[in-house]
């Protein structure tokens, strides 16, 4: 293999030497600078759609979308300049203005990429008000619940279903304000070519896709004295369940880099 070409650039005042072909997002990450993203999902959805990851490149008009823009020699980049922050805030406000913000009852509260951004950007009021789209929740599938009211049109689910799984049960329909992620003829996931694998849930940054929750039935069985309730656990559960729990502050936790949720 030929010797790899390196590129020199400056990100937030830090000199960065990085491999040619890297995106600005990856280059920033390599020196510990975290640029917020929403539609980006490594290797799966790299389309620069939501514009949350915009950065300023000196000498250029407008903003560059860091998840798709490749690094170039001599670039001087600002990832958190006042102009960038203001633009990101507008983008976030616009997304939030058409999002059902019922976080209290949302299964993703506490683990939602949109909620995390709202906290990070100190959103205390949403400037834009206007029409809210209303969609019926599709809960007919025994596996997956689709609540389009919480969808931010990032298309991570589409990319997963179409490219990773080659199923294409869901896609983007209509245009403009009427854009929505749906199925053939807007049918329930139960009635289309969905395999129930749930990879779309893993890709969703919000609570727009979630599992059908059956915990109530389990509590009911546990309460029923006439029932003999036996539980069994699959091999993969035991090596992932712990991720859902945090050590309390009084514990000296030895968490390795990058192991957060």
């Amino acid at each position: 293999m030929a010797e790899e070409n390196y590129i020199n650039l400056t990100i937030d005042g830090t000199q960065v030497k990085t491999k040619e072909g890297m995106t600005i997002l990856e280059a920033a990450k390599s020196v510990g600078i975290d640029i917020p993203t929403l539609c980006f999902l490594k290797d799966i959805n790299e389309v620069g759609d939501c514009r949350m990851c915009i950065v300023e490149v000196e000498g250029r008009k407008g903003f560059a979308t860091s998840c798709i823009q490749k690094v170039e020699e001599g670039m001087i980049i600002h990832t958190h300049s006042p102009a960038v922050l203001e633009a990101r805030r507008v983008i976030l406000d616009l997304i939030l203005s058409n999002h059902h913000k019922d976080c209290l009852t949302c299964s993703r509260s506490g683990n939602c990429e949109l909620q995390n951004l709202a906290i990070k950007f100190n959103v205390q009021n949403i400037e834009y008000t206007g029409k809210q789209s209303e969609h019926t929740i599709d809960d007919l599938s025994p596996s997956i619940v689709r609540d389009f009211n919480k969808c931010i049109l990032c298309r991570r689910c589409i990319a997963t279903c179409k490219n990773v799984q080659k199923i294409g049960a869901i896609d983007c329909m209509n245009r403009g304000f009427d854009s929505c992620i749906s199925t053939v003829n807007n049918q329930s996931l139960r009635d289309v070519n969905c395999t129930n694998c749930g990879q779309c849930i893993e890709a969703c940054p919000t609570g727009a896709l979630r599992e059908k929750d059956n915990t109530d039935e389990v509590w009911k069985a546990l309460k029923d004295e006439k029932k003999y309730v036996i539980v069994q656990t699959a091999p993969a559960v035991r090596v992932a369940l712990g991720e859902e729990f945090r050590y309390a502050n009084r514990y000296k936790c030895n968490r390795k880099n990058g192991n957060g949720s």
């Binding site: 799984q165 080659k166 893993e202 915990t215 389990v218 069994q232 699959a234 091999p235 993969a236």
Partner: protein
């Protein structure tokens, strides 16, 4: 807690605190699956019939083939998936042995998978009007129940699965990662065919992240070609080979999810940021391989509980009773019901 931490002991303690009457291990069901599937494979191999045989533990995969490759359904193993087999045994053998009315038994499966919820509702997966498994919850739902139950998970002491149905092997543990079912099956099939103990039980060629893994394994005088695919895009490539008659292999493992069950649709959701920097699949899979490595028994056919189950109840793999309880059939399905 860090990604890929093995929390078996705390999980069992939490389940006992939640009030389940018994806490058992699906890995035991996985060992049972290997007994049946291994036997089925040896039969098909000796008759040169319906080869390659394809695994049937992944319900998303099963639904996929039923919708897309209906003419190839005969290639699927007739084995039910491990938790379904286990449910069927709990409501018959276990109930009878412990004098429990099977109608009062409620089997709850905790799975890394949302397709298992669909699977448990399949009419074929029942016996005498009783569903093999009554309720399926995911890893995420169990975490919610533990939090609701005011259980400080990280502070819990370890406990062990309940006896006598909790014994499982390392072979059962690796079912949770791509290549694991194949490796577990090869361990048992090799020893059954040759009658000799394997010198090395790790089949490294079927491990790892490669989307399609091909391996040639020499068993006695036979050469067996095996293929492991995960993620449905890769499954499709294999099915096209089989459909066009190009497949020169005998045994295929397919998992619907990329990475296998450790990356299932019911597992803790990782943010885009985490997925960018951490190889989640590898960390979780490595934890399963460590469980296997540390297990005293690492071959399904050496599991004492399984041996006893055949002695006392099922007679032998592939017996009439085993077929009645542990095997199923597949139905061609329309992709759209519109």
């Amino acid at each position: 807690m860090p990604i890929g931490t093995n929390v078996t002991g705390k999980m069992v303690t939490a389940l006992k605190k939640l009030g389940f009457n018994k806490v058992f291990d699906t890995n035991t069901g996985a060992d049972l699956t290997i007994m049946e599937e291994g036997n089925e494979f040896i039969e098909r191999l000796s008759e040169n019939k319906n080869l390659p045989m394809i695994t049937s533990c992944s319900p998303g995969w099963v639904k996929y083939i039923e919708m897309n490759y209906t003419e190839n359904l005969k290639h699927l193993s007739s084995c039910k998936s491990p938790h379904e087999m286990y449910g069927a045994i709990l409501k018959t053998y276990y109930a009878e042995k412990n004098n429990i009315n099977p109608n009062s038994i409620c089997v709850v499966s905790v799975m890394p998978c949302v397709a298992k919820k669909y699977e448990a509702n399949r009419e074929e997966l029942s016996n005498q009007g009783m569903k093999d498994v009554d309720i399926v919850i995911t890893t995420r739902e169990l975490a919610r129940m533990i939090k609701q139950g005011n259980i400080e998970f990280v502070e819990l002491e370890d406990s062990s699965f309940d006896e006598p149905m909790g014994e499982a092997t390392g072979a059962g543990a690796i079912f949770g990662t791509t290549g694991g079912v194949m490796e577990a099956a090869l361990r048992t099939v090799s020893e059954k065919l040759t009658g000799n103990s394997l010198e090395k039980i790790e089949f490294e060629t079927v491990r790892g992240e490669e989307g399609i893994k091909r391996a040639t394994v020499t068993i006695g005088e036979k050469e067996i070609k095996a293929v492991v695919a995960h993620g449905l895009a890769n499954a499709q490539k294999i099915m096209e080979e089989i459909k066009s008659g190009k497949a020169d292999y005998q045994f295929v493992e397919i998992m619907a999810c990329p990475g296998g069950c450790v990356m299932g649709g019911g597992q803790p959701i990782k943010s885009s940021k985490t997925r960018m920097t951490v190889d989640v699949r590898k960390k979780r899979a490595d934890a399963l391989y460590t469980i296997d490595e540390k297990s005293v028994i690492r071959k399904s056919h050496e599991n004492g509980v399984i041996k006893k189950l055949y002695d006392e109840f099922l007679e032998k793999p592939g017996s009439h009773k085993a077929h009645e309880l542990l095997h199923t059939h597949y139905i061609a399905k329309e992709k759209y019901n519109i």
